[in-house]
Protein backbone atom coordinates (compact mmCIF):
# COMPACT_ATOMS: atom_id res chain seq x y z
CA UNK A 1 0.00 0.00 0.00
CA UNK A 2 1.42 3.35 -0.98
CA UNK A 3 2.10 5.84 1.77
CA UNK A 4 -0.24 8.24 0.05
CA UNK A 5 -3.12 5.78 0.05
CA UNK A 6 -2.46 4.95 3.70
CA UNK A 7 -2.60 8.66 4.48
CA UNK A 8 -5.93 9.07 2.71
CA UNK A 9 -7.36 6.04 4.48
CA UNK A 10 -6.28 7.28 7.92
CA UNK A 11 -7.77 10.70 7.26
CA UNK A 12 -10.92 9.12 5.91
CA UNK A 13 -11.31 6.81 8.89
CA UNK A 14 -10.94 9.71 11.31
CA UNK A 15 -13.58 11.84 9.64
CA UNK A 16 -15.67 8.72 9.04
CA UNK A 17 -15.68 7.91 12.74
CA UNK A 18 -17.16 11.35 13.41
CA UNK A 19 -19.82 10.77 10.75
CA UNK A 20 -20.52 7.39 12.33
CA UNK A 21 -21.20 8.97 15.73
CA UNK A 22 -23.58 11.50 14.18
CA UNK A 23 -25.24 8.74 12.14
CA UNK A 24 -25.71 6.64 15.28
CA UNK A 25 -27.58 9.59 16.77
CA UNK A 26 -29.89 9.66 13.76
CA UNK A 27 -30.45 5.90 14.08
CA UNK A 28 -31.29 5.92 17.78
CA UNK A 29 -33.84 8.72 17.48
CA UNK A 30 -35.30 7.27 14.30
CA UNK A 31 -35.80 3.93 16.03
CA UNK A 32 -37.45 5.43 19.08
CA UNK A 33 -39.77 7.81 17.29
CA UNK A 34 -39.47 7.45 13.50
CA UNK A 35 -38.34 11.05 13.53
CA UNK A 36 -35.39 12.08 11.38
CA UNK A 37 -33.86 14.61 13.70
CA UNK A 38 -32.38 17.35 11.56
CA UNK A 39 -31.21 19.10 14.73
CA UNK A 40 -28.67 16.29 15.19
CA UNK A 41 -25.86 18.48 13.82
CA UNK A 42 -26.59 21.16 16.42
CA UNK A 43 -25.67 18.74 19.19
CA UNK A 44 -22.28 18.42 17.48
CA UNK A 45 -21.98 22.20 17.50
CA UNK A 46 -23.09 22.54 21.14
CA UNK A 47 -20.56 19.92 22.22
CA UNK A 48 -17.66 21.66 20.52
CA UNK A 49 -18.64 25.24 21.32
CA UNK A 50 -19.52 24.56 24.96
CA UNK A 51 -16.21 22.78 25.50
CA UNK A 52 -14.27 25.65 23.91
CA UNK A 53 -16.01 28.28 26.01
CA UNK A 54 -15.64 26.30 29.23
CA UNK A 55 -11.97 25.63 28.48
CA UNK A 56 -11.44 29.34 27.75
CA UNK A 57 -13.05 30.10 31.10
CA UNK A 58 -10.21 28.15 32.65
CA UNK A 59 -11.81 24.75 33.26
CA UNK A 60 -9.63 21.71 32.58
CA UNK A 61 -10.81 19.55 29.64
CA UNK A 62 -11.59 16.74 32.05
CA UNK A 63 -14.32 18.93 33.53
CA UNK A 64 -15.28 20.96 30.46
CA UNK A 65 -16.00 17.90 28.30
CA UNK A 66 -18.47 16.13 30.61
CA UNK A 67 -20.25 19.42 31.31
CA UNK A 68 -20.53 20.11 27.56
CA UNK A 69 -21.87 16.60 26.87
CA UNK A 70 -24.42 16.92 29.67
CA UNK A 71 -25.47 20.33 28.34
CA UNK A 72 -26.10 18.86 24.89
CA UNK A 73 -27.96 15.92 26.44
CA UNK A 74 -30.19 18.35 28.36
CA UNK A 75 -30.90 20.26 25.16
CA UNK A 76 -31.75 16.96 23.45
CA UNK A 77 -34.15 15.93 26.21
CA UNK A 78 -35.73 19.40 26.15
CA UNK A 79 -36.17 19.15 22.38
CA UNK A 80 -37.96 15.82 22.81
CA UNK A 81 -40.07 17.03 25.71
CA UNK A 82 -41.14 20.43 24.45
CA UNK A 83 -41.12 20.05 20.67
CA UNK A 84 -41.41 16.41 19.62
CA UNK A 85 -43.54 14.86 22.37
CA UNK A 86 -46.36 17.46 22.22
CA UNK A 87 -46.60 16.79 18.47
CA UNK A 88 -47.00 13.05 18.98
CA UNK A 89 -49.44 11.68 16.43
CA UNK A 90 -48.47 14.34 13.90
CA UNK A 91 -47.19 13.17 10.53
CA UNK A 92 -43.54 12.27 10.12
CA UNK A 93 -43.09 15.26 7.81
CA UNK A 94 -44.45 17.62 10.49
CA UNK A 95 -42.02 16.16 13.02
CA UNK A 96 -39.14 16.62 10.61
CA UNK A 97 -40.10 20.25 10.05
CA UNK A 98 -40.18 20.71 13.83
CA UNK A 99 -36.61 19.43 14.10
CA UNK A 100 -35.49 21.70 11.26
CA UNK A 101 -37.06 24.62 13.11
CA UNK A 102 -35.31 23.56 16.29
CA UNK A 103 -31.96 23.47 14.51
CA UNK A 104 -32.41 27.02 13.22
CA UNK A 105 -33.36 28.16 16.72
CA UNK A 106 -30.37 26.42 18.29
CA UNK A 107 -27.95 28.00 15.79
CA UNK A 108 -29.45 31.40 16.53
CA UNK A 109 -29.09 30.85 20.26
CA UNK A 110 -25.48 29.77 19.74
CA UNK A 111 -24.64 33.09 18.08
CA UNK A 112 -26.17 34.88 21.08
CA UNK A 113 -24.60 32.75 23.81
CA UNK A 114 -21.27 32.56 22.00
CA UNK A 115 -20.41 34.37 18.77
CA UNK A 116 -19.98 33.90 15.02
CA UNK A 117 -16.24 33.32 15.07
CA UNK A 118 -14.22 30.19 14.43
CA UNK A 119 -12.75 28.63 17.56
CA UNK A 120 -9.91 26.22 18.14
CA UNK A 121 -9.86 23.63 20.88
CA UNK A 122 -6.52 22.39 22.17
CA UNK A 123 -5.75 18.79 21.15
CA UNK A 124 -6.19 16.34 24.05
CA UNK A 125 -2.59 15.14 23.95
CA UNK A 126 -0.45 17.43 21.84
CA UNK A 127 -0.09 17.77 18.09
CA UNK A 128 3.08 15.81 17.40
CA UNK A 129 2.23 13.57 14.38
CA UNK A 130 2.85 9.87 14.76
CA UNK A 131 4.25 7.88 11.82
CA UNK A 132 2.36 4.72 10.75
CA UNK A 133 3.13 2.72 7.60
CA UNK A 134 4.74 5.69 5.92
CA UNK A 135 1.80 7.90 6.72
CA UNK A 136 1.34 10.17 9.70
CA UNK A 137 -1.52 10.45 12.11
CA UNK A 138 -2.31 13.13 14.66
CA UNK A 139 -2.70 12.06 18.28
CA UNK A 140 -6.16 13.64 18.12
CA UNK A 141 -7.11 11.21 15.32
CA UNK A 142 -6.20 8.35 17.64
CA UNK A 143 -8.54 9.89 20.22
CA UNK A 144 -11.30 10.07 17.62
CA UNK A 145 -10.84 6.44 16.58
CA UNK A 146 -10.37 5.13 20.12
CA UNK A 147 -13.33 6.93 21.62
CA UNK A 148 -15.56 5.98 18.69
CA UNK A 149 -14.58 2.35 19.07
CA UNK A 150 -15.29 2.49 22.81
CA UNK A 151 -18.70 4.07 22.18
CA UNK A 152 -19.63 1.49 19.57
CA UNK A 153 -18.74 -1.31 22.00
CA UNK A 154 -20.64 0.41 24.80
CA UNK A 155 -23.73 0.83 22.65
CA UNK A 156 -23.48 -2.81 21.56
CA UNK A 157 -23.47 -3.82 25.20
CA UNK A 158 -26.31 -1.45 26.08
CA UNK A 159 -28.66 -2.59 23.32
CA UNK A 160 -27.58 -6.23 23.37
CA UNK A 161 -27.24 -6.93 27.07
CA UNK A 162 -29.25 -4.55 29.23
CA UNK A 163 -33.00 -4.71 29.74
CA UNK A 164 -33.32 -0.95 29.26
CA UNK A 165 -31.53 -1.21 25.90
CA UNK A 166 -33.74 -4.11 24.84
CA UNK A 167 -36.79 -2.16 25.93
CA UNK A 168 -35.68 0.63 23.58
CA UNK A 169 -35.33 -1.85 20.70
CA UNK A 170 -38.68 -3.41 21.59
CA UNK A 171 -40.31 0.02 21.58
CA UNK A 172 -38.96 0.70 18.11
CA UNK A 173 -40.31 -2.60 16.79
CA UNK A 174 -43.70 -2.48 18.51
CA UNK A 175 -44.54 0.46 20.78
CA UNK A 176 -47.93 -0.99 21.70
CA UNK A 177 -46.52 -4.30 22.87
CA UNK A 178 -43.73 -2.47 24.71
CA UNK A 179 -46.31 -0.44 26.60
CA UNK A 180 -48.18 -3.61 27.46
CA UNK A 181 -44.92 -4.95 28.92
CA UNK A 182 -44.80 -1.93 31.20
CA UNK A 183 -42.24 0.08 29.25
CA UNK A 184 -42.75 3.82 29.61
CA UNK A 185 -42.44 4.75 25.94
CA UNK A 186 -42.29 8.44 26.77
CA UNK A 187 -39.18 7.79 28.84
CA UNK A 188 -37.72 5.84 25.91
CA UNK A 189 -38.27 8.86 23.66
CA UNK A 190 -36.53 11.23 26.08
CA UNK A 191 -33.71 8.76 26.66
CA UNK A 192 -33.14 8.34 22.93
CA UNK A 193 -32.86 12.10 22.41
CA UNK A 194 -30.54 12.45 25.41
CA UNK A 195 -28.37 9.59 24.17
CA UNK A 196 -28.24 10.86 20.59
CA UNK A 197 -27.42 14.38 21.74
CA UNK A 198 -24.56 13.01 23.85
CA UNK A 199 -23.15 11.08 20.89
CA UNK A 200 -23.36 14.18 18.69
CA UNK A 201 -21.68 16.32 21.34
CA UNK A 202 -18.87 13.81 21.77
CA UNK A 203 -18.33 13.85 18.01
CA UNK A 204 -18.20 17.64 18.03
CA UNK A 205 -15.70 17.70 20.87
CA UNK A 206 -13.43 15.04 19.33
CA UNK A 207 -13.24 16.78 15.96
CA UNK A 208 -12.96 20.37 17.23
CA UNK A 209 -9.15 20.27 17.68
CA UNK A 210 -8.75 19.02 14.08
CA UNK A 211 -11.23 21.13 12.11
CA UNK A 212 -12.05 24.09 14.40
CA UNK A 213 -15.61 24.71 15.54
CA UNK A 214 -18.19 27.46 15.18
CA UNK A 215 -21.91 28.19 15.50
CA UNK A 216 -22.71 26.66 12.10
CA UNK A 217 -20.42 23.62 12.14
CA UNK A 218 -23.45 21.36 12.71
CA UNK A 219 -25.03 22.03 9.35
CA UNK A 220 -22.49 20.15 7.27
CA UNK A 221 -21.67 17.51 9.90
CA UNK A 222 -25.37 16.87 10.41
CA UNK A 223 -25.91 16.35 6.69
CA UNK A 224 -22.87 14.08 6.43
CA UNK A 225 -24.11 12.04 9.37
CA UNK A 226 -27.51 11.82 7.70
CA UNK A 227 -25.89 10.65 4.46
CA UNK A 228 -23.99 8.01 6.41
CA UNK A 229 -27.19 6.86 8.14
CA UNK A 230 -28.99 6.59 4.79
CA UNK A 231 -26.06 4.71 3.26
CA UNK A 232 -25.96 2.21 6.12
CA UNK A 233 -29.74 1.90 6.32
CA UNK A 234 -31.72 4.24 8.52
CA UNK A 235 -32.25 2.75 11.96
CA UNK A 236 -29.43 0.23 11.77
CA UNK A 237 -26.62 0.71 14.29
CA UNK A 238 -24.13 -1.38 12.31
CA UNK A 239 -25.22 0.47 9.19
CA UNK A 240 -24.56 3.84 10.81
CA UNK A 241 -20.99 2.86 11.71
CA UNK A 242 -20.18 1.25 8.36
CA UNK A 243 -21.92 4.07 6.48
CA UNK A 244 -19.95 6.70 8.40
CA UNK A 245 -16.59 5.04 7.79
CA UNK A 246 -17.33 4.41 4.11
CA UNK A 247 -18.42 7.99 3.58
CA UNK A 248 -15.33 9.33 5.34
CA UNK A 249 -13.03 7.15 3.24
CA UNK A 250 -14.88 7.98 0.01
CA UNK A 251 -14.54 11.69 0.72
CA UNK A 252 -10.89 11.39 1.57
CA UNK A 253 -10.05 9.34 -1.52
CA UNK A 254 -12.18 11.62 -3.70
CA UNK A 255 -10.45 14.69 -2.36
CA UNK A 256 -7.01 13.10 -2.75
CA UNK A 257 -7.28 11.49 -6.16
CA UNK A 258 -9.90 13.67 -7.86
CA UNK A 259 -10.26 17.10 -6.39
CA UNK A 260 -10.92 18.46 -2.95
CA UNK A 261 -13.44 20.80 -4.56
CA UNK A 262 -15.86 17.87 -4.82
CA UNK A 263 -15.37 16.58 -1.28
CA UNK A 264 -18.71 17.74 0.09
CA UNK A 265 -20.56 16.73 -3.07
CA UNK A 266 -19.69 13.07 -2.49
CA UNK A 267 -22.09 12.83 0.46
CA UNK A 268 -24.95 14.11 -1.63
CA UNK A 269 -24.15 11.87 -4.56
CA UNK A 270 -24.20 8.95 -2.11
CA UNK A 271 -27.59 9.97 -0.67
CA UNK A 272 -29.08 10.17 -4.16
CA UNK A 273 -27.49 6.94 -5.34
CA UNK A 274 -28.69 5.02 -2.27
CA UNK A 275 -32.21 6.40 -2.49
CA UNK A 276 -32.27 5.50 -6.17
CA UNK A 277 -30.69 2.04 -6.17
CA UNK A 278 -31.18 0.67 -2.66
CA UNK A 279 -33.51 2.80 -0.54
CA UNK A 280 -33.15 0.52 2.47
CA UNK A 281 -29.38 1.11 2.56
CA UNK A 282 -26.68 -1.48 3.16
CA UNK A 283 -28.05 -2.88 6.44
CA UNK A 284 -31.60 -1.50 6.50
CA UNK A 285 -34.81 -3.41 6.94
CA UNK A 286 -36.54 -3.90 3.62
CA UNK A 287 -39.84 -2.64 4.96
CA UNK A 288 -38.35 0.49 6.46
CA UNK A 289 -40.69 3.43 6.36
CA UNK A 290 -39.54 6.13 3.98
CA UNK A 291 -40.22 9.80 3.88
Amino acid sequence: MSAQLAQYLLTGLTVGAIYALVALGFAIIYNASHVINFAQGEFVMIGGMATVSLANAGLPLLVAIPVAVLTAAAVGVALAKFAVEPARGASVVTLIIITIGASILLRGLATLVWDKKLHALQPFSGDQPIAIAGATILPQSLWVLGVTLAIVLLLGWFFGRTLTGKAMLATSHNPLAAQLCGVNVRFVLLLSFGLSASLGAIAGILIAPITLTSWDVGVMLGLKGFAAAILGGLGSGTGAVVGGLLLGIAESLGAGYVSSAYKDAIAFVIILAVLFFKPSGLFGKKSAERV
Binding site: K166, A167, A170, C181, G182
Partner: protein, 240 residues
Protein backbone atom coordinates in the same frame (compact mmCIF):
# COMPACT_ATOMS: atom_id res chain seq x y z
CA UNK B 1 -74.89 -8.76 40.42
CA UNK B 2 -72.51 -5.99 39.38
CA UNK B 3 -70.39 -3.80 41.55
CA UNK B 4 -70.19 -6.10 44.52
CA UNK B 5 -67.60 -4.37 46.66
CA UNK B 6 -65.11 -7.25 46.53
CA UNK B 7 -64.45 -7.02 42.79
CA UNK B 8 -60.85 -6.80 41.61
CA UNK B 9 -61.89 -4.88 38.51
CA UNK B 10 -64.93 -2.65 38.31
CA UNK B 11 -65.96 -0.76 35.23
CA UNK B 12 -68.76 1.79 35.35
CA UNK B 13 -70.27 3.79 32.50
CA UNK B 14 -67.07 3.40 30.46
CA UNK B 15 -66.97 5.17 27.11
CA UNK B 16 -64.22 5.46 24.52
CA UNK B 17 -63.92 7.16 21.16
CA UNK B 18 -61.81 6.99 18.04
CA UNK B 19 -62.11 10.56 16.92
CA UNK B 20 -65.85 11.09 16.54
CA UNK B 21 -66.63 7.37 16.38
CA UNK B 22 -67.81 6.07 19.75
CA UNK B 23 -66.61 2.50 20.21
CA UNK B 24 -67.69 1.97 23.85
CA UNK B 25 -71.08 3.38 24.83
CA UNK B 26 -71.16 3.15 28.61
CA UNK B 27 -70.10 -0.26 29.88
CA UNK B 28 -70.65 -1.71 33.33
CA UNK B 29 -68.90 -4.88 34.31
CA UNK B 30 -66.94 -6.45 37.11
CA UNK B 31 -64.37 -9.20 37.59
CA UNK B 32 -63.82 -10.75 41.01
CA UNK B 33 -60.54 -12.13 42.29
CA UNK B 34 -59.91 -15.65 40.95
CA UNK B 35 -62.72 -15.48 38.42
CA UNK B 36 -62.55 -16.29 34.73
CA UNK B 37 -64.89 -13.93 32.90
CA UNK B 38 -65.49 -14.22 29.16
CA UNK B 39 -66.54 -11.46 26.81
CA UNK B 40 -68.13 -12.49 23.54
CA UNK B 41 -69.31 -10.32 20.69
CA UNK B 42 -69.21 -10.01 16.93
CA UNK B 43 -66.36 -8.47 14.98
CA UNK B 44 -66.27 -4.73 15.58
CA UNK B 45 -68.36 -4.91 18.77
CA UNK B 46 -65.63 -3.15 20.74
CA UNK B 47 -63.96 -6.03 22.57
CA UNK B 48 -60.41 -5.01 21.68
CA UNK B 49 -61.20 -1.37 22.42
CA UNK B 50 -62.41 -2.36 25.88
CA UNK B 51 -59.22 -4.30 26.64
CA UNK B 52 -57.07 -1.46 25.27
CA UNK B 53 -58.92 0.98 27.49
CA UNK B 54 -58.44 -1.29 30.51
CA UNK B 55 -54.70 -1.41 29.77
CA UNK B 56 -54.49 2.34 29.30
CA UNK B 57 -53.26 2.29 25.70
CA UNK B 58 -56.58 3.77 24.57
CA UNK B 59 -58.04 6.70 26.51
CA UNK B 60 -61.40 6.47 28.25
CA UNK B 61 -63.62 9.41 27.30
CA UNK B 62 -65.94 8.88 30.25
CA UNK B 63 -66.84 6.54 33.08
CA UNK B 64 -64.65 4.87 35.64
CA UNK B 65 -62.25 1.96 35.92
CA UNK B 66 -61.43 0.78 39.42
CA UNK B 67 -58.77 -1.83 40.15
CA UNK B 68 -58.39 -3.29 43.66
CA UNK B 69 -60.40 -0.37 44.98
CA UNK B 70 -58.33 2.35 43.29
CA UNK B 71 -59.46 4.61 40.47
CA UNK B 72 -57.15 4.00 37.50
CA UNK B 73 -59.35 5.49 34.75
CA UNK B 74 -56.63 7.87 33.57
CA UNK B 75 -53.51 6.07 34.74
CA UNK B 76 -50.56 5.53 32.40
CA UNK B 77 -50.24 2.14 30.72
CA UNK B 78 -46.90 1.17 32.30
CA UNK B 79 -48.21 1.93 35.81
CA UNK B 80 -51.15 -0.40 35.22
CA UNK B 81 -48.75 -3.19 34.29
CA UNK B 82 -46.95 -2.59 37.59
CA UNK B 83 -50.31 -2.96 39.34
CA UNK B 84 -50.76 -6.31 37.65
CA UNK B 85 -53.12 -5.54 34.76
CA UNK B 86 -51.40 -7.44 31.98
CA UNK B 87 -52.65 -8.01 28.47
CA UNK B 88 -51.98 -10.55 25.74
CA UNK B 89 -52.95 -8.38 22.79
CA UNK B 90 -54.85 -9.40 19.69
CA UNK B 91 -52.52 -10.69 16.99
CA UNK B 92 -49.83 -11.74 19.55
CA UNK B 93 -47.57 -8.71 18.90
CA UNK B 94 -44.31 -10.43 19.75
CA UNK B 95 -41.06 -8.52 19.20
CA UNK B 96 -40.15 -10.31 15.97
CA UNK B 97 -36.43 -9.54 15.64
CA UNK B 98 -35.71 -10.16 19.34
CA UNK B 99 -35.05 -13.63 20.70
CA UNK B 100 -37.71 -15.68 22.48
CA UNK B 101 -35.88 -15.20 25.75
CA UNK B 102 -35.57 -11.43 25.28
CA UNK B 103 -39.31 -11.27 24.59
CA UNK B 104 -39.93 -13.07 27.87
CA UNK B 105 -37.46 -10.92 29.80
CA UNK B 106 -39.24 -7.83 28.48
CA UNK B 107 -42.46 -9.33 29.80
CA UNK B 108 -40.80 -9.13 33.21
CA UNK B 109 -39.69 -5.55 32.63
CA UNK B 110 -41.58 -4.26 35.67
CA UNK B 111 -40.36 -7.04 37.98
CA UNK B 112 -37.07 -7.40 39.85
CA UNK B 113 -34.38 -9.40 38.06
CA UNK B 114 -34.40 -12.37 40.45
CA UNK B 115 -38.16 -12.76 40.06
CA UNK B 116 -37.67 -12.64 36.31
CA UNK B 117 -35.23 -15.58 36.45
CA UNK B 118 -37.75 -17.68 38.36
CA UNK B 119 -40.56 -16.57 36.05
CA UNK B 120 -38.54 -17.67 33.03
CA UNK B 121 -38.20 -21.19 34.43
CA UNK B 122 -41.94 -21.33 35.12
CA UNK B 123 -42.81 -20.23 31.59
CA UNK B 124 -40.36 -22.72 30.07
CA UNK B 125 -41.87 -25.50 32.18
CA UNK B 126 -45.30 -24.52 30.91
CA UNK B 127 -44.23 -24.17 27.25
CA UNK B 128 -41.25 -26.48 26.60
CA UNK B 129 -41.32 -25.53 22.90
CA UNK B 130 -40.26 -22.02 23.89
CA UNK B 131 -37.31 -23.32 25.87
CA UNK B 132 -35.98 -25.24 22.88
CA UNK B 133 -36.20 -22.06 20.82
CA UNK B 134 -35.06 -19.62 23.46
CA UNK B 135 -32.34 -18.09 21.26
CA UNK B 136 -34.40 -18.03 18.09
CA UNK B 137 -35.90 -14.76 16.80
CA UNK B 138 -39.54 -14.60 17.87
CA UNK B 139 -40.59 -13.75 14.31
CA UNK B 140 -39.47 -17.20 13.10
CA UNK B 141 -41.89 -19.06 15.40
CA UNK B 142 -45.14 -20.58 14.13
CA UNK B 143 -48.44 -18.87 14.94
CA UNK B 144 -49.17 -21.24 17.81
CA UNK B 145 -45.72 -20.81 19.29
CA UNK B 146 -46.01 -17.03 18.99
CA UNK B 147 -49.29 -17.18 20.90
CA UNK B 148 -47.58 -19.20 23.63
CA UNK B 149 -44.76 -16.67 23.67
CA UNK B 150 -47.25 -13.82 24.01
CA UNK B 151 -48.93 -15.63 26.91
CA UNK B 152 -45.58 -16.43 28.50
CA UNK B 153 -44.48 -12.84 28.13
CA UNK B 154 -47.63 -11.67 29.93
CA UNK B 155 -47.15 -14.23 32.72
CA UNK B 156 -43.64 -12.88 33.30
CA UNK B 157 -45.27 -9.68 34.58
CA UNK B 158 -47.02 -11.62 37.39
CA UNK B 159 -50.55 -10.63 36.39
CA UNK B 160 -53.20 -10.04 39.04
CA UNK B 161 -55.62 -9.67 36.15
CA UNK B 162 -54.79 -11.28 32.83
CA UNK B 163 -56.53 -9.83 29.78
CA UNK B 164 -56.58 -12.21 26.81
CA UNK B 165 -57.64 -10.81 23.43
CA UNK B 166 -58.54 -13.56 20.96
CA UNK B 167 -55.80 -15.98 21.99
CA UNK B 168 -57.07 -18.70 19.65
CA UNK B 169 -57.54 -16.52 16.59
CA UNK B 170 -56.17 -18.00 13.39
CA UNK B 171 -54.93 -21.21 14.99
CA UNK B 172 -55.54 -24.81 13.90
CA UNK B 173 -58.13 -26.72 16.03
CA UNK B 174 -55.46 -28.74 17.83
CA UNK B 175 -53.67 -25.54 18.87
CA UNK B 176 -56.95 -23.89 19.88
CA UNK B 177 -57.48 -26.83 22.24
CA UNK B 178 -53.96 -26.35 23.60
CA UNK B 179 -54.55 -22.64 24.24
CA UNK B 180 -57.79 -23.34 26.09
CA UNK B 181 -56.07 -26.05 28.12
CA UNK B 182 -53.52 -23.42 29.13
CA UNK B 183 -56.29 -21.01 30.07
CA UNK B 184 -57.91 -23.72 32.20
CA UNK B 185 -54.67 -24.49 34.00
CA UNK B 186 -54.09 -20.77 34.68
CA UNK B 187 -57.57 -20.62 36.14
CA UNK B 188 -56.80 -23.62 38.34
CA UNK B 189 -53.76 -21.72 39.58
CA UNK B 190 -56.18 -18.94 40.64
CA UNK B 191 -55.18 -16.42 38.01
CA UNK B 192 -57.95 -13.87 37.47
CA UNK B 193 -58.71 -13.82 33.75
CA UNK B 194 -60.78 -11.66 31.43
CA UNK B 195 -61.04 -13.57 28.16
CA UNK B 196 -62.17 -12.30 24.77
CA UNK B 197 -62.58 -14.92 22.06
CA UNK B 198 -64.29 -15.46 18.72
CA UNK B 199 -64.83 -19.02 19.81
CA UNK B 200 -67.84 -18.20 22.02
CA UNK B 201 -68.62 -21.80 22.88
CA UNK B 202 -65.13 -22.59 24.13
CA UNK B 203 -64.82 -19.27 25.93
CA UNK B 204 -68.17 -19.54 27.73
CA UNK B 205 -67.47 -23.18 28.58
CA UNK B 206 -64.32 -22.38 30.55
CA UNK B 207 -65.73 -19.16 32.04
CA UNK B 208 -67.38 -18.68 35.42
CA UNK B 209 -69.33 -15.76 34.04
CA UNK B 210 -69.68 -13.98 30.75
CA UNK B 211 -70.84 -10.81 29.06
CA UNK B 212 -72.16 -10.26 25.57
CA UNK B 213 -71.05 -7.06 23.85
CA UNK B 214 -72.91 -5.57 20.89
CA UNK B 215 -71.81 -2.34 19.20
CA UNK B 216 -70.23 -0.92 22.31
CA UNK B 217 -72.92 -2.00 24.81
CA UNK B 218 -73.25 -4.96 27.17
CA UNK B 219 -76.53 -6.61 26.17
CA UNK B 220 -76.38 -9.78 28.25
CA UNK B 221 -74.64 -11.02 31.35
CA UNK B 222 -74.76 -14.27 33.23
CA UNK B 223 -72.87 -17.38 34.24
CA UNK B 224 -71.10 -19.27 31.51
CA UNK B 225 -73.73 -21.99 31.37
CA UNK B 226 -76.61 -19.51 31.49
CA UNK B 227 -75.23 -17.75 28.44
CA UNK B 228 -74.53 -21.04 26.64
CA UNK B 229 -78.22 -21.88 27.13
CA UNK B 230 -79.50 -18.46 26.10
CA UNK B 231 -81.51 -18.48 22.86
CA UNK B 232 -80.02 -15.17 21.68
CA UNK B 233 -76.48 -16.33 22.28
CA UNK B 234 -77.18 -19.65 20.62
CA UNK B 235 -78.54 -17.95 17.52
CA UNK B 236 -75.97 -15.18 17.22
CA UNK B 237 -72.71 -16.71 18.48
CA UNK B 238 -73.01 -20.48 18.60
CA UNK B 239 -74.46 -20.95 15.13
CA UNK B 240 -77.37 -23.03 16.41
Amino acid sequence: MLGTGDSLLEVGGLTSHYGRIQALKGLDLAVREGELVALVGANGAGKTTLLRTLSGVQPASGGRVTFAGEDITHERADRRVKRGIVQVPEGRQVFGPLSVEDNLRLGGYTRPRAESDAGLERVYAMFPALKERRRQAAGTLSGGQQQMLAMGRALMAKPRLLLLDEPSMGLAPRLVEEIFATVRSLKQAHTTIFLVDQNARAALSVADRGYVLETGRIVLAGTGSELLGNELVKAAYLGL
